[in-house]
Amino acid sequence: MSRVDPTLLHELKEYGAVGIEKCFNCGNCTAICPLASDEYPFPRSVIRRAQIGDKERMKSQLDPWLCYYCGDCSATCPKGAEPGETMMASRRWLTGQYDWTGLARKFYTSLAWELGSIILVGLLVVWIIAMFHGPLVTERVELNTFAPLHIVHLADWVMAGALVFFIATNVLRMYWLTMRRDGQKIPFKFYVTEAWQLVLHALTQKRWATCAADEKDEKTRNAKRTARTIHLLLVSGYGLMLVLIIFFLSWFQTDNIYPLWHPQRWLGYYATVVLLLGAGWALWGRVKKEVEMHRFSHPSDWIFPILLLVVTLTGILQHAFRYWDMPLATYYTYVVHLAFTAPMLILEVPFGKWAHLYYRPLAVYFQAVKEKAKAEQQVPEGALAAAD
C-alpha cells in the first residue's frame, strides 16, 4: 500500500514539471511511446506516481531514465499535461534523490545556488592558479612553464578522483533504491552477464533509435534522428576530450606545435567542432522551441550547454593565441578556460544535468538485469512436469 503525499507534486514543480495535475490518466502518452512496455508503462506511470505523491515508488523506478524525450507523448496529450517534461523533471528529481550530498537538490531547485557554486569553483581555480602558477614567459608561449604539466596533471587526477567518488556513491544509492528495495531477488551473475549493455548504451544510446523507428512523419523522423546523431557526436567529442585530458595531458597540453596531420591536432579539432555543434544545437533549439524536447527549459538546461560552449570557445581561443604566439593572452585564456572547465566537471557531472551520462545507461542495464532475473524466476512451462 502506498501512502499518498500531496507534496511531491509541488516538489516536482520546483524541478521544472508543468501540467502534471492536468492529466486525466487517459494513457495516450503511454500508447504512443515507442519505448514504453507493460512492465514500464511510462509516461503515465510516472505522472500517476507524481499525482498521488507515491515517493517510494517514484524513487525506486527506472522509468524516467528509459525515456529519451522524443516528445511524442507531449504532442499527443489531449490535456496539455506535458508528459515529456514530467519525465524530464522526474530525472532531475531522481538525480537529487540519488545524490547523498544534497547538492543536486540545491542546484536544481535554486538558480542562486547553482550559479553561486559555479562562480565559487571558478574563482577558486583562478585563486589557486594565481597562487601557484610558474613564471610568465613573455618572449614566447611557454604554457607548461606557466602551468607546469605535472601539477596540472595532478590536479586533474585529484579532480577525477573526487568525481569518481561522488559518482560511485551516488550510483550505489541508485542501485540501492532501484534494485534492492522492491524485494526482487536478483542473482549476481546477471550483473556480470548483462554488463555489456551498460557499455553499449553508454556509448551508443541504442534505444534512442527506437524513438524514430516508427515515426511516420518524415520531418519529425528526421528531427528525431538529427537529435540522436548530434548527441552521439557530442558524446564522442567530450569522451575524447576527457580521455585526452585525464590520460594524455602531457601529449595534449604541450608547447610543441604539431603538424596539422598529427592526431594531436585533428583529434582536438574534431572534438572542438562536435562540442561546438552539440552545445550550439542545444542552445539554438531552446531558443527556437520548435521541437518538443526543447519547448521547456529549466535553468539547468541552459547552464550546462552554456558552460560547454564557453569551455570549448575558451579552449579554441587559447589554442589560437598560442599559434599566433601571444603569450599573455594564451595564459589568461587558459586560466579562464580552467575556471569554466572545473565547475562544469565538478558540479555538472555528479550533481547536475550531465549526470544522465551514467544514470541513463545504468537504468537500461538495471532493467536488463531485472528482466533476466524475472525470466529465470518464472518457471518455464513443462519444467515442473519434467521434475516429477
Binding site: 500500500m1 502506498s2 500531496p6 490518466n25 498521488i52
Partner: protein
C-alpha cells in the same frame, strides 16, 4: 335496418419487418374471402401518408365501415389510424388493430409458414371482432379549472406559476412553514454560479404576488376523492402560532433550541424560527413537533403557552401536480464511518458549513484546520445488490443520482478557489458531468490540482481513524484503478460524502393518489419517453425530483412540462377520456352487487336505487371517470349485465371462435 357491414382489411409489410416472415400476400388473399370483407390490401408501410390515404379512399369510395389493420403493436400506431379513420368520416372506434409485428413476425422469425398461419388466425379474429364493433364516444367530463400543486420547492413554485399565468387557479401547499425547499439550502449553483436563494427569491416573489395562486404552508393532503377534472382534496393546515405583532418578541423570549435541519444539524435554532434571512413567508412559525407546550414569558409578563389549531378544508381541483421533491441520502451509522468519526460529513453539510463561515476565515472542522479533504462520490447511489448492504426496505439504491458528480466537482473548484493550499481528492467511479457546462467543473478541478482516484463499486473506499501519532486524523484506503489497481492510503482531515437523492417519505400521499413507484421508489411516469411527466392516474402529474434525481435545471423543465400537461388537460374546462370503461345493461342488471364487490377502484361502480313502475329496484351504475376498464366487474356479474365498451364479451367470443378455427376451414371459407 342495420347498415350492411363492409370490412376493409389491411396487412402491413412494415418495411419487411412483417413481410420477411409472414407471407402477407397470402394472408391478404385469405382475408378477402372472409365474410363481410369488401377489400383486403397489403401495403409496404401503412402508416405512411400513402398508406393512410388508401384507407381513407376505401372508406369514402367503397363505403368501408369497419377497418381491421394488421401492423405494428397498437401502442405505436393505434392512435395514428384512429385519426385516419376519423378523417374519412368514420367513428374512430370502428377500427381494430392487430399487432402482427410484435405478436407474430418478430417472435417467429424461423417459422415462416407457422407465422403466416398465425397471422391468418389473428387477422380472422380481428375481422370477427370488427363485425361486433359499435360506434363509441369518448367520455367528456366537466373539469374544475383549478389545480393543486403539492410541494413548495422550486419545481412546485415553477409549476404553480406556469399554470397560474395561463389563467387557471392554483392551490399550492407546502408541508413546512416556509417555501423554497431544498434549493434554499444551496449557495452558488452550477452551471452559472448564481446564488440559489437569489434565483429562488425571484420565483417566490412572482408566486407570492400572483392573484391566481393560493399558498398554504404547514399544510398537507389528508384525503383525495374524485377523478381527473374533479378531484376533491382535503387539506390539513397547522397554525402559524405567532402573529406579526408578537412574532419578534416571542422568538426572543423562546428559549428552547433544537438542531437546525436547514443547516443539517450543524447549528441550533429555536422552536419559533425563520430558517434563513429572506425566507417566505417572512412571519416566523412555531415548530409544533418540537414545541411541546413550554410556557414562554413575554417581557416578564404571564407565561403564555402557544397552541396549534389545525384546520381542515376541502378544495376542488381538476388536476394534481406532485412536486414533493427528494431527501439527501442519509448514510447509515458507520457507513464510511459516518456518525462514528466527526471528520466524516455529507456534501450538503459542507455546503452549509461553508455558508456559515465568515468570509476570509480559514477552513476548519471540529476546531482543527483542514489541509487535506477527500470527496467520495456515489454515496447512497449506484449501489450493487449483493455488495452493498440493503436499506430498510430490503433494496439498494442502484440508480445514479446524477447531480452529485457535478456538485462534488463544483465544491472542489470552490474549495480550491477559496483555500488554494488545500489538497483535494475526488474518489469517483465515473465522472458523469453530462450537462451543458458541467464538464468545465471537471476541467477546472483538474487544472486546480484536484487529485482524482477511481474506485470500483465492488470495492468501496474504507474510512478509518488514523492511529495516534499520525499527521492526519483520518485515513482513507482505496483501490485505485488509475494507479494500476494498487491500494492507496490517503491521509485527510475531512471526508465529504457526496450523497445521492432518495425519495421523500410520502407513503400516505402515494396511497391516496394511487400513483405507482418505480423500482427506485421514486414516483413513476407512464412512459419515460412518450409521457414523461404523467402518472398512470389521470390528472396526477409529476414535477421535479419526486420522480427521480434531477438538477435544478431539469426540475424546472419537468415542472414546466407538468404545468403544460395540466393546462392541456384543464384549459378547455373539459376532459376527454377513452371510452373503454364498464357499461351496465340496465335490462339485465338486477342489483346483485357482485360487481361492486369485485371493483378495486373507489367510486367506479356503485348500486343505486331507482324507482320503476312504482317499485324500488337496485342497479349498478358506473362512474366512467373512475373506471379503468379492467373488467373485474364483467367477470363477477352473474347476469352478463356488464361489458367493457370496445371489448365486449360478444366480441371476445367471436374472436375466440375465429382463433379456434381450423386453418383449412379458414382458408377455404
Amino acid at each position: 335496418m342495420p347498415e350492411k357491414l363492409k370490412i376493409g382489411v389491411y396487412t402491413c409489410y412494415c418495411g419487411g419487418n412483417i413481410s420477411h416472415t409472414v407471407k402477407c400476400e397470402q394472408v391478404a388473399k385469405v382475408m378477402e374471402s372472409q365474410p363481410d370483407v369488401v377489400i383486403s390490401r397489403t401495403n409496404m408501410s401503412l402508416c405512411s401518408d400513402a398508406g393512410q390515404s388508401q384507407i381513407e379512399q376505401d372508406i369514402k369510395e367503397l363505403g368501408v365501415n369497419r377497418v381491421v389493420i394488421g401492423a405494428c403493436a397498437p401502442s405505436l400506431h393505434e392512435q395514428t389510424f384512429r385519426g385516419t379513420v376519423m378523417r374519412a368520416g368514420l367513428n374512430p372506434f370502428l377500427y381494430h388493430h392487430i399487432g402482427l409485428r410484435e405478436q407474430d413476425s418478430w417472435v417467429h422469425t424461423c417459422d415462416c409458414d407457422g407465422a403466416t398461419c398465425k397471422a391468418m388466425h389473428l387477422m380472422a379474429a380481428g375481422i370477427a371482432k370488427a363485425r361486433h364493433l359499435q360506434p363509441l364516444e369518448p367520455i367528456r367530463l366537466e373539469a374544475e379549472k383549478q389545480a393543486l400543486v403539492i410541494g413548495g420547492g422550486v419545481a412546485g413554485l415553477r409549476a404553480a406559476l406556469d399554470i397560474a399565468r395561463q389563467g387557471l387557479r392554483v392551490v399550492l401547499i407546502e408541508k413546512s412553514p416556509f417555501i423554497g425547499g431544498r434549493m434554499a439550502q444551496l449557495e452558488a449553483v452550477f452551471p452559472t454560479g448564481e446564488k440559489a436563494r437569489d434565483l429562488l427569491c425571484d420565483l417566490v416573489k412572482k408566486v407570492a404576488g400572483h392573484p391566481n395562486i393560493k399558498l398554504y404552508t404547514q399544510a398537507e393532503v389528508t384525503g383525495v376523492t374524485g377523478y381527473v377534472g374533479n378531484y376533491g382534496v382535503r387539506i390539513l393546515q397547522h397554525s402559524r402560532g405567532v402573529s406579526a405583532e408578537d412574532a419578534q418578541a416571542l422568538m426572543t423570549a423562546c428559549k428552547k433550541e433544537v438542531p437546525d435541519e436547514f443547516n443539517y444539524g450543524l447549528s441550533q435554532r429555536k422552536v419559533i424560527y425563520q430558517p434563513f434571512e429572506g425566507c417566505y413567508p417572512q412571519l416566523p412559525a412555531v415548530d409544533w413537533e418540537n414545541y411541546q407546550g413550554e410556557p414562554i414569558s413575554l417581557n416578564g409578563g404571564q407565561p403564555i403557552v402557544l397552541e396549534d389549531a389545525p384546520q381542515t378544508f376541502d378544495v376542488s381541483v381538476g388536476a394534481i401536480v406532485v412536486a414533493t421533491g427528494f431527501d439527501p441520502y442519509e448514510p447509515r451509522q458507520g457507513e464510511y464511518s459516518y456518525g462514528e468519526l466527526k471528520e466524516v460529513v455529507t456534501l450538503p453539510q459542507l455546503i452549509r458549513h461553508l455558508a456559515l463561515m465568515k468570509s476570509g476565515e480559514a477552513l476548519t472542522w471540529n476546531g482543527h484546520p483542514v489541509r487535506d479533504v477527500a470527496l467520495i462520490h456515489c454515496v447512497g447511489s449506484r449501489e450493487i445488490e449483493g455488495v452493498d448492504e440493503p436499506h430498510e426496505d430490503g433494496q439498494v439504491n442502484n440508480y445514479c443520482s446524477r447531480v452529485c458528480c457535478t456538485a462534488s466537482l463544483h465544491m472542489a473548484v470552490e474549495l480550491h478557489e477559496k483555500f488554494p493550499a488545500l489538497n483535494i481528492y475526488e474518489l469517483y467511479q465515473d465522472i458523469r458531468t453530462y450537462g451543458r457546462g458541467h464538464e468545465d467543473y471537471y476541467r477546472g478541478a483538474l487544472d486546480g490540482g484536484v487529485r482524482f482516484v477511481r474506485y470500483s463499486g465492488e470495492e468501496r473506499p474504507q474510512v478509518t481513524p488514523a492511529p495516534t501519532g499520525d499527521t492526519h486524523p483520518v485515513l482513507l484506503r482505496v483501490k485505485d484503478s488509475l494507479t494500476y489497481n494498487e491500494e492507496l492510503e490517503i491521509p485527510v482531515d475531512l471526508v465529504v460524502l457526496a450523497v445521492g437523492m432518495v425519495p421523500r417519505q410520502i407513503d400516505d400521499l402515494v396511497n391516496m393518489l394511487k400513483v405507482s413507484r418505480g423500482t427506485d421508489r421514486f414516483l413513476l411516469e407512464v412512459h419515460p419517453k412518450l409521457r414523461p411527466v404523467e402518472t398512470a392516474v389521470n390528472g396526477v402529474i409529476l414535477a421535479g425530483t419526486a420522480q427521480g434525481p434531477m438538477n435544478i435545471q431539469e426540475s424546472l423543465s419537468a415542472a414546466s412540462a407538468a404545468a403544460a400537461k395540466v393546462l392541456t388537460l384543464l384549459g378547455r374546462g373539459k376532459v376527454e377520456l377513452p371510452p373503454f370503461v364498464a357499461a351496465v345493461d340496465a335490462e339485465k342488471c338486477n342489483g346483485t352487487g357482485a360487481c361492486v364487490e369485485a371493483c378495486q377502484y373507489d367510486g367506479a361502480i356503485a348500486l343505486q336505487t331507482f324507482t320503476e313502475n312504482g317499485k324500488e329496484i337496485k342497479r349498478a351504475v358506473v362512474t366512467p371517470a373512475n373506471c379503468v376498464g379492467c373488467g373485474a366487474c364483467v367477470a363477477a356479474c352473474p347476469n352478463r349485465a356488464i361489458d367493457v365498451q370496445g371489448w365486449t364479451l360478444s366480441q371476445y367470443e367471436a374472436m375466440v371462435d375465429a382463433i379456434g378455427m381450423n386453418i383449412v376451414d379458414l382458408v377455404e371459407a
